[in-house]
Homo-oligomer: 206 residues x 4
DNA sequence: AATGAATGAGCGTTCATTCAT
DNA sequence: CATGAATGAACGCTCATTCAT
């Protein structure tokens, strides 16, 4: 509806809204076009198919996360500061992009290869070597120096990611289980970050 | 296709297969019926609608988890054994029911209320008080006795659940990130459980 | 639901209720069976098909009208008493059988041959010669004797039937057109009969 | 099938054919589309549902009658000319639109509110006051002036409408009852109009 | 670049009917 | 006679996609 705006962006935004709530299968092309204020045929002109649009949505949002992580990784840090800063980075990012995590979860459940491949190619675009591998190496190094109490970098990474992302998906169930509404406020997320950092430091630092 | 089998169970199983891969929106009634070896109209005879079938699938699988957790909770344990046994319980269960976690993730992303409500009603069926709350109380008690280093039961529960479940969804991404295939073997899951237990104990026990 | 009742009658009654409101196409076999308190397969046992049941409903109700008319016709009457009594007979009958007129109207509109043929065969069952023809003859006779001001028996019969039956179908439209509710009371139907009789006598008697 | 024709009109016409023979419940969307020579989805593109199409059919044909009646009513006439001209108007109209009367009858029998409401709204569109009421008023006036032998305008209107419309529905039964085929010729309808006019004048004029 | 109309395959659902017991 | 389960052929409707302009 808004004028003077690149229709591609308009469409991508509308599609993100749609797909993050209904998934690829549940998302409706008509609705996306209508919300974007463009003719339905334009979606096909720009993105050639519903699936193409979906992938582009995924890519465009996902790619925003990479540079943040890259910047973080490149800085020389101690394990302690690493474990203190990574949760804040991830949780902060997903808090600002709640739709992305739903989108990724949906895609992981239905079509794991799509998002994995995309993820992989994004990583390769940005770093000469895999980002995860470079984190991995860093962790492996720390581990061999006796700076960490666990020595499998993959398990450590899984633990970190689990603690930082799962909540965004599980929030509604947590609310039901604990019979209370969790407010979208800084206070809560500070507590969340604190809890994760505390767990990681207590569990990983010697 | 198989004879002498309760068609209701046949349908539920086929539906689980379908929905856990494609979601409610992406799942096809025809395919479910065909795979179950029954006439499509039977789905409606027994479950009245696609959504009804979906909910029944969710319920029938979800309800298998509850008694396990209940049994675990009811036993008087020390924090230490609690943190040692819960990850094995959850990870073991989801390893045997990999489709359920996808199903729940899909549903949480697209329709959080359905699965939350179902979850809540299942909890209420089984326990006089909410299961989560009773775990919560136990944790709160331990916390007040100085047996745990964190004092927000909800954060602790989120941490535990995150560590135990997220991997099953994120596995394909982890494989890509680390450029290796993770085998479905006992060895790997033992490592996973170990890592989680170690993290929890190191992070939570004094 | 009622016990100790001939299920055939139960079914016919339930079917009348259904078909007179929804028509043959709109009527549902399941609903008929449920309302009749019998298993659906029984309908087919007794009436062999939905259409067979429909025809039997039509026949069983329609046939109640014939003897009344026959009795009326057989009595030797003057045109005056004929015109006074026929409207009361018809309007009285349809008032007690409001579902029949809807049923016949529905069938006449969608499948004129069915009800016409049925009508014809019912007439033949009861009278050696067609009932209508015998009325016709009577009217023709009166007409030739100068006792009536119109001489086409068919037009006269159409007029009589129109005046006596149309209202039962058109009632809802009349209510809307005149912006008032027409009560199902004796008073109104007396007025109606009076109006018809007055019109017929004024228009037909010399 | 015909080219260069507004598909909306094509659909409406095909739908009229279908619904007037089978009713709303019995009419088939596929058949309507096929006969109209358009894709089935177009019905929904233009009319949003089967019922929406049905109502539009009803409305589009019904609305043709109103102006004729309005024009007739607005002219200042004597009761005599009124009773002479109204039957010709109605019978002439329905003779040219035989499908409409079946359509209305079907709808009155199964769903009286739909057609009544439509009728009412059409009347209101065209006349500041209800058409029927304005006829009513005219009749009431005449009646009070002693120009008519009956004084209930509603009964008079019911009589007129009955005499003019019922035949079109009952024709097949009349044919069977009188064991003859009624030809669709001017001669017959002239006789019909004559008979109605004669009856009305004889019965209503002083 | 942009639109409204069109399309065909397929969707969830229903229904009259039949079968096994 | 009576039942619950089963069936297959539609049915009304939707959707991603394309076409003509």
């Amino acid at each position: 509806m808004k004028k003077n705006v690149d229709p591609k962006i308009q469409i991508l935004d509308s599609a993100m809204e749609e797909f993050s709530q209904l998934g690829l299968a549940g998302g409706r092309v008509d609705r996306i076009a209508k919300r974007a204020g463009v003719n339905k045929a334009m979606l096909y002109y720009y993105f050639h198919s519903k699936e193409g649009l979906f992938k582009e949505v995924l890519r465009s949002h996902f790619s925003q996360l990479i540079p943040l992580v890259v910047a973080e990784i490149r800085e020389p840090v101690t394990p302690q500061t690493f474990l203190e800063r990574i949760p804040r980075l991830y949780i902060g990012f997903f808090r600002k992009n709640p739709r992305l995590i739903r989108l990724v979860a949906l895609n992981l459940a239905t079509d794991p290869k799509v998002v994995s491949t995309l993820f992989s190619s994004l990583l390769n675009e940005v770093t000469p070597e895999h980002l995860a591998l470079s984190i991995s190496n860093k962790i492996a190094l720390w581990s061999s120096q006796g700076l960490l109490r666990q020595n499998d970098p993959m398990q450590i990474m899984i633990n970190i990611l689990s603690l930082c992302t799962f909540f965004f998906l599980a929030k509604p169930m947590v609310e039901v289980a604990f019979d209370r509404t969790i407010p979208e406020c800084d206070e809560f997320y500070e507590k969340r970050i604190e809890s994760v950092v505390s767990l990681l430091k207590g569990g990983l630092l010697p």
